[in-house]
Symmetry: C2
Subunit: 202 residues, 2 copies
């Protein structure tokens, strides 16, 4: 039964399943949809809604957000500036892996700094698409879905984006959805049209 | 055109696409196939071969290995003990995310320490399967596909697993493939049978 010790290497498969094969199988390209915006702008709502729509349309899709990143991959990180940078760096790298695996991965993180989003863009390469989930601060603050704005205004939450820390708006996002002007359905329709044009029909 | 500021939250989609929906779509469960073994045991060969077979069988699959992790997600880490632990921890978390997304993800890392593999198992939960890619040290050293054993023996590579650092063999792996006893084809057949039983037919 024993084989030549080096037999494993003699017939080594050295190539991975490539992007084209995955694309042909899935009938869409892999890609990163990087949602950025103020707290309360609607990132999570749109991410989960878009995942649902894409799944129903037959796509391979997944959402990365605080819920599945902060308790696991980034559980060693806090919320100070350096740790927030590192968190976004890691999400950018993981999103790039998902896109390489052929999925349409949607990320939902405030990601307030241009430099951090540029890092994520470098990791994702041409698969990366920045989507600005845009709403005025006063609208986001009125929504205050998690009560964080109230805490920030009363000094109980330091360095909260939009109050004690800046949000650097995207300068040239691939898409902007204005959640104070459009309904959720309208936002999702714009997002689906974008994905169809860039990752499905393309 | 303007809507009530809180409209996004009024119709929020709060549920993710679940494991059962993904499984029904893909016709297999998501899972982590965690390959562990000495350098030169055949982990990469089997990982890439298995990815190919699974893809041809219609599965959603992806390989995580040094090639796509060390230059990206773990580019901030070195090869000292603490950094190697952290690298394996991150791979365990990323693998768990891929399994949650419905993929059969194959990891190919030496991962020499039981404690680190236990951490990866906790991250993956029931989706985690430890696969011992087993070959005697002298066989792996004779293969020496990357020339690392030679460097380690001549003192040019410190803490190389099997020479200057220990390999802690799995005590209860879900599967063992003995790459010195079986051909690559035979190993892949065993792996495919395992995946069919645990993730496809199950």
């Amino acid at each position: 039964m024993a084989r030549h010790p080096a037999s494993v290497n003699l017939v080594a498969v050295t190539s991975r399943v490539g992007a084209e094969a995955r694309r042909a199988r899935n009938k869409h390209a892999g890609g990163v949809l990087w949602l950025t915006g103020l707290p309360g702008a609607g990132k999570t709502t749109l991410a989960l809604g878009l995942e649902q729509r894409l799944f129903e349309a037959g796509c391979q899709t997944y959402v990365l957000d605080g819920d599945n990143i902060r308790g696991g991959l980034s559980s060693d990180l806090g919320f100070g500036p350096a740790d927030r940078n590192e968190n976004i760096r890691r999400v950018g790298e993981v999103a790039a892996l998902f896109a390489d695996a052929g999925l349409i991965v949607i990320t939902a993180f405030i990601s307030p700094y241009r430099a951090d989003r540029a890092t994520a863009r470098r990791a994702g390469g041409p698969a990366f698409h920045e989507i600005y989930v845009k709403a005025p601060l006063q609208v986001c603050e009125a929504r205050d879905p998690k009560g964080h704005y109230r805490l920030a205004r009363t000094g109980q939450l330091a360095e909260f984006t939009g109050v004690g820390a800046p949000y650097e708006a995207p300068e040239a996002p691939e898409l902007t959805v204005e959640t104070d002007m459009l309904s959720v359905e309208e936002c999702l329709a714009r997002l689906m049209e974008f994905v169809r044009a860039r990752l499905i029909r393309a």
